[in-house]
Amino acid sequence: MHTLPQQLANGLFIGSMYGLIAIGYTMVYGIVQLINFAHGEIYMTGAFGALAVYTNLPDGMSIWAALPLMLAGGALVSVLIAVGAERLAYRPLRNAPRLAPLITAIGLSLALQQAVFLWYPNATSGKPFPQLPGGPFHIGSVDIQSGDIFLVVAAVVCMSALAAFVRTSRTGRAMQATAQDPDTAQLMGIDTNRIIVIAFAIGGFFAAVAGLASGLKYGQIKYDIGFQAGLKAFTAAVLGGIGNIYGAMLGGLVLGIAESCASAYISNIPGMEQLGGGSWNTVWAFVLLIIVLLVRPQGLLGERVADRA
């Protein structure tokens, strides 16, 4: 068990990534009750946007100087796609049966993935991504890579900023009002369309941060990374209580740690040798989700809302 601190740290890092992506699912769901299945692809396009900026920077530029530009490029791509999807695909279906925007989201996800596959130069297989120099750093028995530090710092900063924004700013309070009751919020003079666009934009920005962090951590991005990451992040959002931004982050961390511990230790339990290992981590993630939903259907931090599914 002396690897436990390291496995917890592994889970924490991957969990931060799930959490960052999950924010996009949860904010959009909280306000328009739409599961935006294209969000995983928005994360992927963010990573490709950052890479496109990096490839076009002059040679010899230090990665630290390039980082803000890459983040800006990735965020621009992700936010534009997220807001564009809202404006062109979801808004016309705002009052349609709930299944219609859901199917649209799945279609959009496939379209975005194929678009990158076909049109991004040489994206048919993995693209190398620059990595941060330095590291690994040792804290006790735990090794931490510089990419992991970026990920955790980015997650903490983004999360705190978002919490402050939602709690204290006028727009943030308008978001809470719209989430509680869009019709009444509109009667009180809140431009709900604007609030919805902002929710998509924030989700897109967080996805871009996650995309950049993923590239820096693994040193490679692919056109299909959005699917699995999106699925896990959606799970994290449901686990934490969909609609709740703190829940999304908590859900991500719980999911990441559960996955990493499950694949590390379950095979050590006598009689369960076949059920452990890296290939089973997704299975255990969903087992955890089912258990949590049986005990707390609203998720870890969710509120019990009777009239919403």
Binding site: Q7, F117, S125, Q145, D224, E259, S263, A264, G277
Partner: protein, 422 residues
């Protein structure tokens, strides 16, 4: 008004349709013209026929670097045969289909080949798991399939090969690459006896190729007295291996053996070395790709693979092939399977000639030609660019050469070649 706009619309559509049709027929004419041209250059007076050889490989997505090596290896063989007029009266054409390393897509491609009367035989696939889904389709159509890359023993020797009860499941399936029974054993032997590694952590990707190879390595390494420090499995397409890396680190193994493709192992070795675990990662031919070194960078240094055959670049016969590949600027890695693909394609081309000679210089009508080709390919006996090509009673190559390569200064360097004797 409404009437008139309808009229305009109709006329626009008609004009458009006519233009498109005209374009279509013109491009058809062009094609006819070019094949007629090459026919004119051949000395044969008989009418020139075009024979298509299908290629199935992953051309996009995972494994596509090596997959493209298959497509263009076959292309060069066909071009050479046409230029040298190897089979008078026949122009060979390559039709490549992308299987995306997916068994289901491979099967669709196989069906497309067998239902197309111009296709006489097929080259491929790259992945053993894809081959499993294609073999039956080709066998039913009596169409020869030669894989330059499949190494899973069960493909030619049946599922009970390990117990010594070898039966050939499909008479239409051949391969120019030797099997993992040889490769995994060769790797286990090298790791224990040459590298003096005593403790190995064995990982695989649960695919037909990877799991099979890892199991054979595991068996050989432990039978020699090596310790298996742990085993794990990964999902293809994953990119976070931190849990696995922690396990390997904690197991104090001095070697990681990976059964699978370069797509996952390049990330595993990178994350392994980044975590300070400075032990080599060893794998099979699926990992022997320049992309592996490109992605893993310095982390790849010291890593090892076994691959089929002797290094293509050391064979005198291969020089022309490599020059052709480079001069045409084709994408993909020719290093591993390019030479074998060339030889597999040449085997088909020569077999076509045998079939034609037996039929009075004419190619029989399609179902018969395919059937006759099986026998002709079985009797293949030629010196190819990657060594001698002939097939045993299971459809396996008789060329059982294997080579260990190691990454040295950012390049794969051959460190040992030999034949595995068990």
């Amino acid at each position: 008004m409404r009437h008139r706009s309808l009229l305009i619309l109709t006329s626009v559509l008609t004009t458009g349709a006519l233009t498109l049709t005209a374009c279509g027929s013109r491009s058809d004419d062009d094609k006819g013209g070019s094949s007629g041209g090459s026919g004119g250059s051949s000395t044969s007076a008989t009418k020139n026929v075009t024979v298509v050889i299908g290629v199935d490989a992953p051309l996009t997505g995972p494994n596509s670097a090596t997959g493209l090596g298959l497509q263009y290896g076959a292309q060069i063989a066909a071009d050479d045969a046409n230029a040298k007029n190897l089979v008078p009266g026949v122009t060979f054409k390559i039709s490549a289909k992308d299987d995306k390393a997916q068994p289901a897509t491979g099967q669709q491609n196989a069906t497309a080949f067998t239902s197309d009367d111009s296709v006489i035989a097929a080259i491929g696939p790259l992945n053993s798991s894809v081959a499993v889904s294609m073999q039956q389709v080709f066998a039913t159509a009596n169409m020869v399939e030669i894989s330059p890359a499949n190494t899973n023993p069960a493909l030619t020797q049946g599922k009970d090969w390990a117990t010594g009860k070898k039966t050939r499941p499909f008479p239409t399936y051949f391969r120019t690459a030797t099997t993992d029974a040889n490769q995994g054993g060769f790797a286990g032997d090298y790791a224990y006896n040459t590298l003096k590694k005593k403790s190995a952590f064995v990982v695989d990707d649960k695919q037909t190729y990877g799991a099979g190879l890892a199991a054979i390595f595991n068996q050989k390494f432990s039978s020699l007295g090596g310790k298996i420090a742990g085993t794990d499995h990964v999902n293809t397409g994953d990119n976070d291996y931190s849990t696995l890396v922690t396990k390997i680190k904690n197991s104090h193994a001095d070697l990681v053996y990976y059964g699978g493709q370069y797509d996952e192992s390049e990330l595993i070795t990178k994350q392994l070395k980044a975590a300070g675990v400075k032990i080599p990662l060893m794998g099979g031919d699926g990992m022997y790709s320049d992309t592996y070194i490109k992605t893993a960078g310095a982390a790849a240094e010291g890593d090892l693979v076994t691959s089929v055959g002797v290094p293509v670049s050391t064979l005198q016969t291969a020089t022309d092939f490599i020059n052709a590949y480079k001069s045409k600027g084709y994408p993909g890695d020719y290093g591993t399977y390019g030479g074998y693909t060339y030889d597999a394609t040449t085997a088909i081309i020569k077999a076509v000639k045998v079939v034609m000679d037996a039929n009075g210089g004419k190619l029989p009508a399609m179902p018969d030609a395919r059937k006759a080709l099986i026998d002709a390919v079985q009797k293949t006996d030629l010196d190819g660019v990657a060594g001698h090509v002939s097939f045993d009673e299971f459809g396996d190559t008789t060329n059982k050469q294997l080579t260990v390569y190691q990454v040295k200064a950012g390049k794969w360097v051959a460190v040992k070649s030999g034949v595995y004797t068990g």
